[in-house]
């Protein structure tokens, strides 16, 4: 049955090439835009090396401190993460690292701007970096404040050309570091792993940050397995509540959470003080936007479809006369339309891959590596199905209601 519908659909599509071209253009352009958006979201939130265990990793990415008449929204502070958030039940390993800060270096009269991130030794165990050369620094390096650094491939090229960087020193932010490892570039949009230069926290020139409850640090918690995640979230909230605040008259509450990346995005976008994370709301919002965007193209396609079925009225008349039910006809037409949108989605995917490659090349987002992943492909299929049904249901319903006699005569709807 489906097979004959499919054959019929292909026949109909090939019959009027101009119309097929118009429809395909509409479908592929619509899905191109949506797929590029989906791929970019996936590039920000999806699992990507070195965050390959993101399904059992939570992060403390945001934190705020509020009092009767003031709120400070920033990132978690080092003191909170180091003294209050350690040893959460179910956490196998934890790492604390700073928000990247922009630093300047002047190797042989040139200027190089880089992002520098200070991390502990476990950072390299929670995140799975592959090393191009050398290896990570250790917890001992952090404790004793050894001036060692891991750099990314681009930084190696900027400082040392094509040569190996191991053992060489580079100066950043007025401090010298000996390079112990080189890792591939990580996209700017990946909050936890992104940096150009990584150095131990122990090398920091100041110590003020060690007393901050809210500050410029983040943490990742690697759970022993996925089932431990809810417990970790709850325990983190517990710790937030029980953390003593130095001046309760000024600030009396800490807000934040152990989140997935998407939870954090919901926290920052949908709440004022990071007090609550409602990922389901953000998801609904994104879906709503996608559907709203599809509205005009769907109307357009529905219009084209509607005028196309008119030319097939005699076929419909014959089928009706031989007893095809309205339901069968609706089904047939929807299948035809979905075949069309699937072909459009395939084209859209190709265009989306080209667009993403152009975005990656443009340098608009540092080290962008947006690709059409398997998940984006699944999204493409889902969107095409939805779009096909959205734009096909009205014409199909109209068609099924044609009177057999009128349809056979070929008069208007």
């Amino acid at each position: 049955m489906l097979q004959s519908y499919f054959k019929l659909a292909v026949k109909v599509l090939l019959r009027r090439k101009f119309f097929t071209f118009i429809s395909l253009f509409a479908v592929s352009a619509t899905l191109l835009v949506l797929l590029v958006a989906a791929a970019m979201l996936d590039g920000v939130f999806g699992p990507r090396a070195p965050e390959i265990r993101s399904d059992r990793t939570l992060g403390a990415y945001l934190m705020s401190m509020s009092g009767p008449d003031r709120t400070r929204t920033a990132f978690p502070g080092f003191a909170f993460l180091d003294q209050q958030a350690r040893n959460l039940p179910g956490v196998e390993r934890m790492t604390v690292f700073s928000v990247p800060s922009s630093v300047a270096s002047y190797p042989d009269g040139r200027k190089v701007s880089s992002f520098l991130k200070r991390t502990d030794g476990d950072y390299w165990k929670v995140l799975d970096f592959t090393f191009l050369e050398g290896g990570p620094y250790s917890a001992e390096d952090d404790v004793s404040g050894n001036s060692v650094a891991v750099i990314n491939a681009t930084t190696r090229r900027r400082f040392f050309g094509e040569a190996s960087a191991l053992g060489k020193t580079l100066e950043a932010d007025g401090q010298s570091f000996r390079v112990v490892g080189v890792v591939p570039d990580v996209p700017f949009v990946r909050v936890a792993p992104f940096a150009d230069i990584w150095v131990p926290i122990g090398t920091a020139r100041t110590s003020g940050f060690r007393h901050d409850l809210v500050g410029e640090y983040m943490a990742l918690f690697l759970a022993s397995d996925r089932s431990a995640l809810p417990g970790i979230r709850a325990a983190f909230q517990e710790r937030l509540r029980n953390t003593p605040l130095p001046d309760p008259k000024m600030y009396d509450t800490l807000h934040g959470g152990a989140d997935s990346l998407f939870d954090s995005a919901a926290r920052i976008l949908l709440t004022d003080r990071f007090e609550d994370s409602r990922p389901e709301r953000l998801r609904a919002l994104l879906l709503g936007l996608a559907v709203a965007f599809m509205l005009l193209p769907a109307l357009n396609l529905a219009n084209i479809n509607l005028s196309r079925i008119l030319e097939r009225s005699s076929e419909i008349g014959v089928r009706k006369a031989f007893g095809a039910s309205a339901r069968t006809l609706v089904g047939q037409f929807l299948v035809e339309n979905v075949v069309l949108t699937l072909v459009g989605a395939a084209l859209g995917l190709v265009f989306a891959a080209a667009t993403l490659a152009a975005i990656n090349r443009s340098g608009l987002i540092p080290y962008a590596q947006f690709t059409v992943s398997l998940r984006v492909f699944a999204w493409a299929v889902g969107m095409a199905l939805f779009f096909g049904i959205l734009s096909g249901v009205l014409p199909a319903w109209r068609m099924s209601r044609m009177h057999a006699v009128q349809a056979l005569r070929g008069s208007s709807l």
Binding site: F18, F19, I22, F25, A26, A29, T30, L32, V33, R70, R72, A74, G77, S101, S102, V103, A104, Y106, G109, R110, K111, S113, D173, G174, A204, R205, T206, G208, F209, D212, V214, G215, E216, M250, L295, L296, P297, L299, N300, L301, A302, N303, I304, L306, S307, R308, L310, E311, L364, L394, R398, G410, S412, L413
Partner: protein, 398 residues
């Protein structure tokens, strides 16, 4: 004629309803993109009010988060840094400011004066900021060295704030805000036409520059130093500058960025969403155009008999063409009217804010023109087909 055409449109209401909805949605899309593009453009054309060439912005990272971690010692250290920057060879002038020109961080002040709720951007600036940035005074004067010793804080306001706060009155010598007696008075000493700190594309608004007096714990100094350098200054000067600053404050970090670069990235951040919107809208409109063309063509084929009848009863070929075009224009008018009914709610509810009425009107106008152009262009070929129909052929159709 129009009434008759309306009837024709009405008779085909079921297939026309969807077309109408499509035109309505397209109108909204064009309106949205046209208005934002016009807004960006009109914003860009307003004068900037300062000179950014050969000025560098040095951000100071004090490794302390938040304002309540501020100490008078930091004020003093920043004063020393500004003095140090001024003494570097190749540097013409240096000044302290809280938020850099072309930056996205802003400090806003909200207060009530004479029963009016006012909001304004507040910029903390040292004495030399007007000189380093080349501000032009419109009334009164800019900061003077004597202001540094005054018991009140000298304030320079922009024209928009002068109008919002003082109306037609002369603002000079007046108090900007009524504040707690423990805080120093803010006295307006001058008015500038514009000082668009956020850059050419930032939103227009009220702004005041408030003098940071050295040695006053109440005046928090900003964490940025603006440095005017000699034209053609090189990286070597930048490196020397950073090393000298680093020597004065070894615990802090410094980052130098020419305002030209900050300006370029601010541009990119403002233009990118509009450009993406325009590209997406172009896609949408071209698919709508192609779709309309196809639908109208198809519809016309189905009405061949009707057209033939008109020709047979004496209508000229041109009449038939005109009928097709007018019908489409009528449908467009209905769609546009629907769109207008929705869009015009925005000014009624006061939701156009800083977009301003001229830009809004321009966006509406552009959308109307674009839709008529689009739909008439799409119906032109079908109408030509109608015109070229042979009456005898057309009547025989079916």
């Amino acid at each position: 004629m129009i009434r008759h055409l309306l009837k024709l449109v009405w008779n085909r209401k079921r297939s026309n309803a969807l077309l109408l909805l499509e035109i309505f949605c397209s109108f909204l899309v064009v309106f949205g993109v046209a208005t934002s593009a016009l807004f960006v453009w009109s914003n860009y054309r307003r004068p900037l009010g300062f000179e950014w060439k050969d000025v560098w912005s040095v951000s100071i990272d004090t490794k302390v988060v938040g304002d309540d971690a501020w100490t008078p010692q930091q004020n003093e250290l920043i004063e020393r840094l500004i003095a140090e920057a001024r003494s570097v060879p190749g540097v013409v002038g240096a000044a302290g400011i809280d938020n850099t020109p072309f930056g996205f961080e802003t400090n806003n002040a909200g207060w009530t004066s004479d029963g009016k709720r006012l909001r304004s951007e507040a910029v903390d600036a040292t004495l030399e900021v007007p000189t380093v940035l080349g501000l032009q005074v419109a009334a009164g004067r800019l900061f003077e060295p004597a202001d540094n010793a005054a018991p009140w804080r000298a304030v320079v306001i922009n024209r928009a704030l002068a109008r919002a706060r003082f109306g037609a009155d002369d603002p000079l010598g007046k108090r900007l805000r009524e504040r707690d007696p423990s805080e120093p008075e803010e006295r307006v000493v001058g008015v500038v036409d514009e000082f668009r700190r956020g850059g050419e594309l930032a939103l227009p608004g009220n702004l005041f520059l408030r003098l940071t007096r050295p040695g006053q714990p109440s005046d928090r100094s900003g964490r940025r130093i603006l440095v005017r350098v000699e034209p053609g200054a090189t990286v070597a000067i930048e490196e020397r500058l950073v090393r000298r600053l680093q020597a004065v404050a070894p615990d802090w970090s410094f980052e130098v960025q020419p305002l030209s670069r900050l300006r370029a990235s601010a541009f990119r951040l403002w233009i990118t969403p509009v450009a993406v919107g325009a590209i997406v809208a172009f896609f949408l409109l071209s698919m709508v155009a192609l779709g309309l063309l196809g639908v109208l063509w198809q519809n016309l084929l189905r009405r061949t008999g009707e057209m033939g009848l008109r020709r047979a009863t004496g209508a000229s070929a041109l009449d038939v063409q005109r009928q097709v075009l007018l019908e489409q224009a009528l449908l467009t008018t209905l769609g546009v009217l629907l769109g207008l009914a929705l869009v015009l709610q925005l000014p009624l509810f006061g939701w156009i804010g800083w977009i301003g009425k001229p830009v809004f009107a321009g966006g509406v106008l552009l959308a109307i023109v674009a839709l008529y152009a689009l739909t008439l262009l799409c119906s032109f070929y079908p109408s030509l087909m109608a015109r070229r129909m042979e009456p005898a052929e057309a009547l025989r159709y079916e």
